[in-house]
Amino acid sequence: MAADSTLLLSLVEEFVSGLQDSKAKDTATGVKDGKFTVLQLVEALGQSLTSSQSHTRARGVQLLSEVLQECYGSLTETEVEVLIAFYENRLKDHYVITPPVLRGLGALTKCTVLPPGSAVSMLRSLFQDVHVQSLMLAERACVYNMLINLMATREAELKGLGADFVFGFVQSMDGERDPRNLLLAFQIAKNIVLRGYDLGKFAEELFEVTSCYFPIDFSPPPNDPHGITKEELIQMLRDVLTGTPRFAEFLLPLIIEKLDSDVQSSKLDSLQTLTAAVSQYEHKDLAEFLEGLWASLRREVFQTASEKIESAGLAALTALTSCLSRSVLNSDSEDYLSTFLDLVLKDCKHHLSEPDLKLVWPSAKLLQAACSASNRASYIITAAVMPSLIDQYNSRAQCSHRRTLLEVVQRFILSVTMSRSLDNEESVFLAFRPSLCCMVFSALTETNASLQITASSVLTSLAQQRGLLLDSDINLAVDHLTRLVLTENDAEVSLAVVECAGALAALHPAAFITKLIPRLKKEMFSEPMDHDNERTVSERHSYHAVRQRCLSALAAVSSQPSVVQESTPVILEVLSSAHKGSVGFSVVEVVLACRSLQRIAEQVQDTEETGRCFHDIIIPRLLSLALQAALQGEGSPGHRSPLVEEAVLSAMVPVISTSCSRLQPTLAGQTALRAVSLFLNGDVSFLPDNSFPSHIQLLKQRGDSWSQSQMVCLLMGCVCSLPRSVEVPQIEELLSELEEMSCACSHPLSYTSAAKCFAGLVNKRPQGDSLDSQIQSSVKRVCRELDSASASVRTQAFTFMIWVAKALLLRYHPLFTTLTDKLFSLLDDADLGPMAADGFTLLMSDSADILNRSCHADVRIMYRQRFFSENSDKLVQGFNAAPQEKKPNYLKALSNIVNTLPKQVQVTELPKLLSLLLEALSCPDQGVQLSTLSCLQPVIMDPPPVLVQQLEALVSRLLALTSSPAMNVRITSLRCIHAVSRFPEHEVLPFRARVLRALARPLDDRKRLVRSEAVKARGQWFLLGSPGGS
């Protein structure tokens, strides 16, 4: 014990007289470990605390405070009481002692055992004895932190202080300049405002002392270690200013004043603060400022130069209107909402009658902003505005005026939709329904395209107003849409019409089932009477266009299951009549029919009903038709069914694969079972129109009978897109048949599809020995076939190999490396070299039909990066070792790979590849040039230093390419040159004259697209280094 007390004395001595700051830490540790108590410390400090030297006293208090900062948790209530009394007393001492005293008090405010009343007495002495703003930064922060601590724990006591507390705080923060302390001070002010402290008569003072910082203009110094942002300060201050309606009378004039400012950011801040403020206010807070606020808001929207300010102004108007809408009306009080809206209408409404002048849009936007605030507001505004808009529409003759008016009307409809989310009240537009419908329908019958487009989107928004349109209106609308689908030749209009039909059909399916679908069906099957030359080419052309629009309209309206039930049979009928030749459909039309089915499969809701429709009706039907066509293909030479065409089959594949991947997994499994047994065993029992011969062997067909063998692509569509949970039946047998077919069948579509199908199945097969041995045997087979002498056999084997390689690459299968090595060795091959180089594109890019995520394939993330990092060295080595005539293959392979990498990876990998890529730019192959340019282009946009070093080589190669015979190469190289102008100025300036001279030539290029790129690039290079330029 004695030893401890001498230790303590020596610590105190060394800290106070020896000025060794580290001893405070040791003392604190001693107190924490229980070697000595705070009481003993005070006793030991006795002499220093009573010294006549103020600096010694300050040192003594500092030691005590620092110890307290560490150990405030272990103090007892009496100790705290004594310490507080001591510290409060010391506040009256010499000013050098104040900082450590504040620190000590700060530590004590964190105590949980603060005796009652001490918080109040502490603050009283603080406010009385200390002038906060003459303290240093850290001490001011200490005072703010004390307040924050006490407000967190002793709220009731502080509120007992009444307005004195607010006054004390106002005095303490008055004049604060440091942003770090301001954040603390705003925090306190926010607590005062939001937690209901009594502001007494000091509301204005508190507002003044905080609002003097509004609007905040602060840009942190570069490398600011404190990380305070302007946004943080703005948000904190906004919370204070908007926290209470008591500030309304001060804040609103301030906002009106600041909106007059020229500084954009302060306008924006003012508008956002206004929006935040009025959400707390009541109408009486606003009443006297409404006119001023409206004048400012109107000016901001009418004359704005920036969209941000415009939208902030509109948001403020909406907030203001909804605040007024919340007011409860008394019988004797004024209705502020209608007074205010009268003001808005008075200033805006007349602009709506001048649809060719500039202010029509700002006025409309203001009215719509007010309109969207509340139901009552939307009633008042639409009642005032709609009749005149409708009148004008009827009286104006010019299409552009009418279109503007229609667009304005549409925006009103949309703004009302926003204001009524849940309630089931009747639509605001009910009163205008007849005239609105009349207006829309008359616009739909106009010949002006843009008017029709606008009208169809107005129709869509009207239909989305719940309970507005009557059934008769919908029927009329469907009639109009049907008419337009059948007659309108303008592509944009018919697109808009089809879209509108789709939106309406989702809401009102019945009218479409009874009217549109039968009509379209009739129109599609009404064959032109004779095929003779009487019909001109253009007539036939327009006939084709009608069918095309009918098919896309059928697809668009089919989102509800009930519509799908009706529309898909029509499309299937198109296919079967095309097959039978009873109605002449061209191949293009049949392909479009398949696309429509695909679109329906993509957009329809996944229900049992639609699943059955696709799996039990559509897919068997498609397979049956394709099979009939294939069998017929060999027999009769007369009529050849369009369904044996490659284009048609390829369009059928996505119908099957979309339905198998997204609709009803159990049913998809059943479809897979049927398809496999059809292809493996010739089981045709599930196909409709069953009149097939008994011995069908679709996978055994070779060579000449390609019409049957190519059907394997339909099998692919089915089995490769199943969810992974669905098992593929007879998979071993299937795989070996597919392998055989892809190696032995010489028809391109057949062997490619077989290879893809094989790959799709391998990709999803579970890991294990059976998979490994399957792959190994296939690889062996491929190698054997590749050694063959026949070029076609080798091409087939290569196709098979590249697809299998892709399947394995995507799932990170270890056996992939054998295939990579083989692939690299083929780059040196005389015949297959270019094909192998192109093969890398296939490996690295997503394929549309199989092996992608929507087919539930096993695709690991970042497989491209992984492939690149594992193989780029091999490629570079191969390039260096290759004979001159084989080098282009390597360059092509490289640019194909780099092209698909994400940009971040490209930038990091570029340094080691740059010389190779520049080499590739001078390679004569245009494909290589183009793909290299397109992979350099993003890198040039954000050039790494290594590229800047190679500038000479880069610029001269790019300039050489601007006279390439291929237009795309010229365009891309000009884009790259354009991008080079953004390099650091001192680097590119030396090239300016040369580039300008070289770019004079492409200005006179024979292709306009090239010229326009040259104009852009040359204009930019002219600005370089010129006054007023960059």
């Binding site: 400012s261 602009h351 001048e354 500039k358 237009m967 010229r1011 006054p1027």
Partner: protein
């Protein structure tokens, strides 16, 4: 000057913006020669100049105020001539010379050397029409103007594309 004051003509007539030139199949056909036409010149001015010059009076672009219209652009590719008329917003527009000079410079930079470029004010649309036309037609005065670095700076600012 401040946002509080109102513009002289706060509600001018605005004209519809023309859409982008549609890409046709022949544009992409390597074998077809596309001659330089009116629309192309208009687009050069429209994309690089008209959109970026702001009339100080109005926060609208010159396009919306119809300063340059496609019908007032005349090109003859075979004879290598370009003629352009522009219409200042008001008869006393102080920017007329600058707008004319910017148009001229832009075309000098964007067209092959073989073209003779003629820029003038739409007849009857400006108070000092003749004087401005004379200045713009005088090769030496144009060259001298571009030697003046502060003038060049203003022209270049007009020609700097804005990031939208």
């Amino acid at each position: 000057m401040s946002g509080g004051t109102s513009l002289e003509n706060a509600n001018p007539v605005i004209f519809e913006r023309s859409g982008e030139r549609l890409l046709t199949a022949t544009d992409e056909n390597e074998d077809v020669h596309d001659p330089i036409d009116d629309r192309e010149i208009f687009d050069i001015l429209f994309l690089h100049l008209i959109r970026s010059i702001n009339d100080p009076e109005h926060p609208l672009s010159l396009e919306e105020l119809n300063v340059v219209e496609q019908v007032r652009v005349k090109v003859n590719d075979a004879e290598s001539t370009v003629g352009i008329e522009f219409t200042p917003t008001i008869p006393h527009c102080s920017m007329a010379t600058l707008i004319g000079l910017s148009i001229k410079v832009k075309l000098l930079r964007s067209l092959p050397d073989r073209f003779k470029i003629d820029v003038h004010i739409t007849p009857g649309s400006h108070a000092s029409e003749e004087a401005v036309n004379k200045q713009l037609a005088d090769k030496e005065r144009v060259a001298a103007a571009l030697e003046n670095s502060s003038l060049l700076e203003v022209v270049n600012q007009c020609l700097t594309p804005r990031d939208i």
